[in-house]
Amino acid sequence: MTTAHHDPVVASYLHRLESAAQALPRERRVELVSEIRAHIDEALNEAGATDEVTVRNVLERLGSPEQIVSEAVGSRPHPATSRGTLEMAALIVLALGGILPVIGWSLGVVLVVASPAWSARDKGIGLTLGLVASLMVPALVMAMPMGGGLGPIETFLLFGLGIVAGPLSAAYLAYRLRHGRASTYGEAHTLGV
């Protein structure tokens, strides 16, 4: 039963599946890989053989890992056409939110969180990155001779969030949108999945 796990052909197939499935949220990736692994075990068990020909035929019937994952990516609840607008709005509001201190940035964050295009990890990294960098703004402003008048918290809220945190988070999230999960999604969509 467990022979399949030791078979090099099966191992390499599952490895390819695992990498292709990076586009999926973790929970779904784990579920998919475990279901496919169970399928291979059942199929080899049914065949009563684990020679290379049998193994390759089982994998052939399954289809390529990329094909399986593109089906998973394509079966997201939101069609690609209705996406994109929300993400674009989120990035613009985040990048230019400094015009309306605090409110602009907060609105951008709400839009980012609402979008299914970014993984929770991307959202976390993107927003934290901006916040951490913007924490340095009050220190810098205070160090300047004309930086009196405003306290560190006011400086942070007026300039840090809008001018540093927003644009930086927007830049990271825009990058992830092009090179992260979104590109895989776009590919699957072009294939008509």
Partner: protein
């Protein structure tokens, strides 16, 4: 020209398969609860329904997220526990709705196609 028409027909069939396969899954679960491999093999026995068996698993995952099927684990005599799929009430309703629509659709298309082909036969 002829080849192109065949290609179009095949594409149409691919789209039809894509649209109906999830209801075939629901229909297979109507009578009995099944584990993934069993379900996939049963679908594969339907001519032309499954091209790549592996693509059924993402479909099952979506049906579960849409609450049309539910899963649970059951012991197996042949190895590790298996994940079983069963139809939910929502799934039963979706299947009943689709079945009614499908029969209307099929009847209408059949009426046209079969009449047309009779006509062709008479003409030749």
């Amino acid at each position: 020209m002829c080849n192109m028409e065949q290609g179009d027909a095949r594409n149409t069939l691919t789209q039809l398969r894509r649209g109906t396969v999830e209801y075939c899954v629901l229909a297979l679960l109507r009578e009995e609860e099944r584990y993934g491999f069993d379900l996939v093999r049963a679908l594969s026995r339907i001519d032309g329904m499954v091209v790549s068996e592996g693509t059924i698993y993402p479909l099952l995952s979506r049906l579960r997220r849409d609450n049309l099927v539910a899963t649970y684990w059951r012991e197996s005599d042949a190895g590790p526990p298996r994940r079983y799929y069963r139809l939910t009430e929502v799934g039963q309703e979706a299947l009943a709705d689709f079945t009614a629509e499908w029969i209307r659709f099929r009847t209408a298309v059949d009426a046209l196609l079969i009449q047309e082909s009779d006509h062709d036969h008479r003409a030749s």
